[in-house]
Symmetry: C2
Subunit: 259 residues, 2 copies
Amino acid sequence: MYTAFIVGTAGSGKSFLTSILANRLKIFEIDVATMNLDPGVLRLPYAPDMDVREYIDINEIMTEYELGPNGGLVAAVDLITSQSAEILEEIKVRSPDILLIDTPGQMELFAFRPTGVIAANQFGGEKCVLVNLMDANLCRNPYGLINSIVLALSVQMRFFYPQLNLISKSDLIEESQLEDLQNWIEDSFAFEDAINATITGEKRELALRLHQTIDELQVFAETFPVSAKTNFNIDNLYGKLQVIWQGGEDFQVEDRVIR
Amino acid sequence: MYTAFIVGTAGSGKSFLTSILANRLKIFEIDVATMNLDPGVLRLPYAPDMDVREYIDINEIMTEYELGPNGGLVAAVDLITSQSAEILEEIKVRSPDILLIDTPGQMELFAFRPTGVIAANQFGGEKCVLVNLMDANLCRNPYGLINSIVLALSVQMRFFYPQLNLISKSDLIEESQLEDLQNWIEDSFAFEDAINATITGEKRELALRLHQTIDELQVFAETFPVSAKTNFNIDNLYGKLQVIWQGGEDFQVEDRVIR
């Protein structure tokens, strides 16, 4: 079983992408299953094959422990690993070739608390990929793109899976902005020019320094825009996932071995 | 009016630190006021002088828009700026010398959505400091400390205020771990040794590369552990805030000007 964890900040479009990607794989007659790992979500744009809400009732937790929505969410996500045995049994019974795991709405509850990494290690199959969504609205200028990538690096450090960084909801930005974005991702010098043209002073110094680090770490090799609404780059996403899942023992980026 | 925004991931101890710091300033007879900017919190360890919950009722929002705790929190935080005029009027009437602003429980709702930066610019006084809390539990080994600092950098890029990075809840880690931590922060070579001794392979390469960047950006000059429980370094925190608030036109770190 190959696994993809769909991770991203609140509102970055995780559930919608999970839904569109699963449908696309089904068209290719691939045995794909979806799992919702968010105990706090009310409505999903798809019917998950497995659902953590069957084990964890956030309203019950809020009532029982007298918690507000904040504390309730934290407690509910932290409780996921207490249900590991049952969830794992369900995965074993369903046993899909590919499992897409839609993670909690607020990224930090999954990425920056101990539960997320433990749950990922428990539920992930033989090869796991982390699909990290970065809202296109936050990436439309050079400074915002670097800022989002720095956050993506922090997520990558936590899970240390091969990671794809998707600029999600790319349909929300203008065609010319999208062209600029792709140019910055593909051409390091063009991006440096764009930084120099749009940012001044200390902010520029910080952006240039971080861009250099991002460049050296080759993060942009696995960064591209997608739209679950227009299907833009969804097949490309599947292609990239295939390469990682079936690309031999290790995930290779040029001469660098990740994992 | 000088302002400090207390920011950090869920459970990093923002509200407790706000409470302890306010009490400490009152002992020094400083005119300090507190503001709660989290519409989703149920109980606070202090009675805030100003409270966004007086303007935004998250339960009403959840009922009216048929949202779960996830969506409710996102909507409630996004609504803060719609109440700016009233909140600003309240700040003006109270007009404290120092305003401590306790931000929403889930950091990303404030730091990685548009509202946070807008609200910070509206409510902040003439000099703002961002106090970023990093849970000591996530910083007790070299890899975790770098990971937390990378996240801190992403926050710093968003607000671009002078920023103090506090390793919060330091009472939860052992004395020897705390000594190690302080050694790593103060001595770049000692930290590199610790990375080499505790991390291997690709993770080490990533950690060393990011440490180099962190070192060049002098992030550790403004990083230190605190405990709101034992009062460890709370006076030091106030001293650092004073230097930034009253330190002339700009905030200086050695030969580098921030802001």
